[in-house]
């Protein structure tokens, strides 16, 4: 199966059948690859699917400027689709205006991203490969497990490299707060690098604890190669373990962090033990 040809076929079909007026995807031209809004099926011949280049954030920005009746198709990897779902759930995107064309990632890409779900809900192009368990990755484990002190040193060594480009925030499809907490003088000092280890990086990470779709855009954008995804992975794993919740995969369910768990446990899930014990101690 040729993923690029299948992707082109799917994109062309969407335009020809009028399911969307435009397809946001990647185009390869003389200047290399860049995002492009394809509106003419004849142009689809230049559509490509590599490199990994997330489009959910671009789609959000573009849709704001498009006419109300415009329907936009987006070439989506699994994480891109999850980001779009999450944005729809949080009223940042109008789901009726979006059409997802799903791309499955390669095994190599899944490994590079430590991705647990390297495919969207419906795959139009690419072969579905199994997800990767980040807790089996040797390097990831040195950041996620073991002696707390050692881990703290490891993290401090990495985060000390931060040059405060805000690329992690700027590239994150889910980072949409206005004003941004990272621009609040109470938490983050101005005008010096590195950015505060705790108040910059952990505020950013916790702000995304139940919305992060593990796309890795933050890490991809980091000029100093700080393994920012590993900050999110343990929180994602916790949400899955305790609440069976994964951001962006369930279109209906609210985040457990927005629910009153003692009153309204999500159907099918038990109240985690520590919630009850918390109640007892009050």
């Amino acid at each position: 199966m040729n993923i690029r040809e299948d992707a082109r076929r799917a994109a062309r079909k969407v335009l020809e059948q009028g399911k969307a007026q435009g397809v946001l995807g990647l185009r390869e031209a003389g200047d290399g690859v860049s995002p492009h809004l394809f509106e003419d099926p004849g142009d689809i011949d230049s559509l490509v699917v590599e490199p990994k280049w997330l489009l959910a954030k671009l789609a959000t920005g573009i849709l704001k400027d498009l006419p109300d009746d415009y329907r936009l198709a987006v070439m989506c990897r699994g994480c891109d689709e999850r980001a779009i779902v999450e944005l729809i759930k949080r009223n940042q995107l109008d789901g009726a205006k979006i059409h997802v064309i799903g791309l499955a990632c390669s095994q190599e890409q899944a490994r590079a991203c430590l991705c647990t779900r390297p495919y969207p809900s419906e795959v139009a192009a690419g072969d579905v490969v199994e997800g990767v368990d980040p807790f089996q990755d040797e390097r990831a484990r040195t950041f996620l497990e073991g002696d707390q002190r050692e881990r703290m040193i490891r993290w401090a060594t990495e985060l000390k490299r931060c040059v405060k480009c805000y690329g992690c925030r700027n590239s994150c499809p889910i980072c949409v707060c206005v004003p941004c907490k990272l621009e609040d003088d109470l938490w983050v000092g101005r005008g010096e690098i590195p950015a505060d280890l705790i108040s910059f990086h952990l505020i950013r990470a916790f702000h995304l604890s139940d919305t992060c779709v593990a796309c890795g855009a933050c890490q991809d954008a980091c000029p100093e190669n700080i393994p920012l995804m590993l900050l999110q992975i343990s929180m994602r794993a916790f949400l899955m373990q305790e609440y069976g919740y994964e951001a962006g995969t369930d279109r209906e369910r609210r985040s457990p962090m927005l629910s009153d768990l003692t009153k309204e446990p999500s159907p099918g899930y038990e109240i985690p033990g520590w919630v009850d014990s918390l109640k007892d101690s009050v």
Binding site: P35, P223, N225
Partner: protein
């Protein structure tokens, strides 16, 4: 839907990162990192992420402006062009062509810089063409050319990732070249040793294995001490020295005076740290040296660069994939502005203006007689009170903010018969112009930039310039035509074809070859793939030359009246004279006022607290700024960034020059510091 994505090149530093500009209805509405870019690979620094913010700023210059008294009035382009030609012509007629000076721009494209120097050289028979490279890497061009035969970064940025040891001298790359810093960290993660030489405890220094916190201006003693230690322990690359270099014996003799103990004494360091650094660098299988303004901006700048070349030659760490000498060039196109002959002694491609054969080649091509007299260095001209220069054309430079000892610059500009300044914003320099020409910014033009690793990349037009502003290519073509010089180019690509025909380094460079990733010079022919690293097998000059780096201490030392060493430099969220970054809301939010860094011990002694207004003075001038108390500077040293017009650091700096390259000693002068009792800002 009128929406598009334009790939182009970042207008800030010399890394040359890839931007994708999002354009809607003739406006740039977004800016993203280019994930498909060979250098930046989807990353940007804070400046790059916000590079679009000044494009549509309301203060953009939108019409030619003529001074009448103290006020500027808009005039039509044809009048402006006629006026430039008439006034410069009158000066040339009255005083000769050498009474004209031109400053081209490291912020403009190769094509524009080529046309600018052609306009000055062919139009007025003078070699008085200069630009801000004089203020930064002129010692690099001079020193590396002498030792190796080429003044450029020997290797590619990505080569750093594979080095086993990186010696970083006088570069705060984490703030000034954040993307390149990422490649350095990659090397560190793969086991490379990082050695940093810097009088300040910068973020680079804090993340290094060894930080040699030398006394400002003692780089030569340090390197000499290291070299002597290397030779004493037979760690030099004897085969490399024999086969590929000359002049070793003379250097070796000079080094006998430089024991590690003497070096340690001069530098204020522990001798064992010098020994460890020397052994680490010498014994690494592949090692690179990265250096920047901390090396060059000294009155012994050229000797500093020569010392670096000596060290690399001694250990055989040059001319290989992961081993080289890497000066990081500051401006987006400072490499290109030098390559294009924006210097008073060379035509494009470093072809010497003093060589009659070369001159003949350009006379034939340009159809004009050219001057055989060498041009003047801008720092020398201003330092000597202007000399014989009567009229000046400045394209995209702001010398009032960027040149040392500001009062001298002001004196020079005020006494000119005619000053025309071409820029995108009103600047501290346009205030003194008789005529202002509105140029175009990076997003409004087509052309090429050459980055620090000699990569020639396309700049692609995304939107039109505002109002009556024109891209600098068009302005220069109008001027050239009015001067009768031809200049009937319809497109910048034709200029590059002309450059290629006259410049062997760029011989195979054409726009159609630059689509994705560009080309690294030397690229002599149309089928040449470009050159990722220089001096493979043979140095450009043949053999690598060891040159004795004579040590001269800084011109000013701290004394009773001026007890502090004053260091200037840059910071992560602003760029140079601030013309663009101070108008970028996200960057100005990060830092919106000037500051001076003071060590806590010094601050406590003179009763200064963080945020206090302080007066910093030198023998030249004084500024009032805000105290920032930090251990980043050592006791007895203070640091100020030069981005802030409210407290211009370069009002204070000394205009002592390196005798070879004429670079000013921006990095060291003596200063005094006291708390400003009133609010001080009035």
């Amino acid at each position: 839907m009128n929406l598009g994505f334009i790939k182009t090149t970042c207008p800030y530093c010399g890394t040359g990162c890839g931007l994708v500009l999002q354009v809607r209805d003739g406006k740039v509405v977004g800016n993203y990192p280019d994930r498909d870019h060979p250098v930046s690979k989807g990353s940007l620094c804070i400046k790059g992420w916000n590079a679009h913010e000044f494009i549509h700023h309301p203060e953009r210059l939108t019409s030619p402006l003529l001074r009448k008294g103290k006020t500027f009035y808009p005039i039509p382009w044809d009048e402006a062009i006629d006026l430039v030609v008439e006034r410069l012509g009158r000066t040339a007629e009255k005083y000769g062509g050498d009474a004209i000076g031109g400053l081209c721009s490291a912020k403009c494209t190769n094509e524009e810089n080529y046309l600018f120097q052609k306009f000055i050289r062919a139009g007025f028979q003078t070699n008085n063409v200069e630009h801000c490279a004089r203020l930064c890497h002129s010692p690099t061009v001079a020193g590396m050319s002498q030792a190796l035969g080429s003044g450029a970064m020997t290797n590619s940025i990505k080569d750093l990732e594979g080095a086993k040891c990186i010696l970083i001298m006088g570069s705060n790359a984490a703030e000034t070249f954040p993307i390149i810093m990422g490649d350095i960290y990659k090397a560190k993660d793969r086991g490379a040793r990082l050695i940093v030489v810097d009088p300040r405890a910068t973020e680079v220094a804090k993340n290094a294995h060894i930080h040699l916190q030398i006394r400002s201006g003692t780089d030569i003693p340090l390197i000499c001490g290291m070299m002597r230690h290397i030779i004493e322990h037979s760690l030099e690359d004897k085969e490399f020295i024999t086969k590929r270099t000359e002049g070793f014996d003379t250097l070796n003799e000079y080094l006998t005076g430089w024991t590690v103990e003497r070096a340690a004494e001069e530098c204020g360091l522990d001798g064992d740290m010098i020994r460890e650094a020397a052994e680490t660098y010498a014994t690494a299988a592949e090692a690179s040296i990265v250096f920047c303004m901390g090396i060059t901006q000294h009155a012994c700048g050229t000797a500093n660069v020569l010392a670096i070349c000596d060290l690399a030659l001694l250990c055989g760490h040059v001319g290989k994939e992961h081993s080289g000498i890497c000066p990081l060039r500051g401006q987006c196109n400072v490499q290109g502005a030098c390559d294009m002959g924006g210097l008073p002694d060379v035509y494009p491609g470093y072809q010497r203006a003093s060589d009659p054969g070369i001159r003949k080649k350009f006379e034939d091509a340009w159809g004009r007689e050219l001057s055989d007299r060498p041009g003047l260095a801008v720092t020398e001209t201003i330092g000597s009170g202007g000399g014989d220069i009567r009229s000046v054309y400045i394209m995209g430079e702001n010398p009032v903010m960027s040149d040392p000892n500001r009062n001298k610059t002001l004196e020079f500009l005020k006494q000119l018969d005619f000053l025309v300044v071409q820029d995108i914003f009103p600047t501290e320099t346009t205030q003194f112009a008789h005529l202002i020409l509105p140029g175009a910014c990076f997003a409004e033009k087509t052309g090429t930039f050459t980055n620090t690793e000699r990569r020639i990349q396309l700049l692609r037009k995304a939107v039109d310039p505002p109002g009556e502003a024109r891209d600098d290519f068009t302005i220069l073509c109008m001027l050239g035509k009015a001067m009768g010089l031809g200049f009937d180019y319809t497109d910048p690509s034709e200029v590059m074809d002309e450059i290629a025909s006259l410049t062997p380094l760029y011989g195979g460079v054409h726009f159609y070859r630059l689509g994705h990733g560009g080309l690294q010079w030397p690229c002599p022919t149309d089928d040449h793939p470009g050159t990722p690293f220089l001096h493979k097998g043979e140095f450009t000059r043949g053999k690598g030359l060891f040159v004795v780096p004579e040590y001269t201490p800084p011109v000013e030392s701290p004394d009773h009246d001026y007890p502090y060493i004053f260091i200037t430099g840059r910071m992560f969220c602003h760029y140079h004279t601030g013309t663009m970054t101070r108008r970028s809301p996200s960057l100005n939010r990060e830092t919106d006022k000037p500051f001076v860094e003071i060590n806590p011990v010094d601050a406590a002694r003179i009763g200064i607290r963080g945020g206090d207004a302080v007066r910093v003075s030198t023998r030249r001038d004084a500024i009032v700024t805000t105290a920032r108390i930090t251990e980043r500077v050592s006791r007895g040293s203070i640091f100020a960034a030069f981005h802030f017009f409210e407290a211009p650091a370069d009002a204070l700096t000394i205009d002592a020059l390196d005798p070879v390259s004429k670079v000013p000693e921006f990095k060291v002068c003596a200063a005094n510091l006291r708390k400003e009792e009133s609010d001080g800002l009035s």
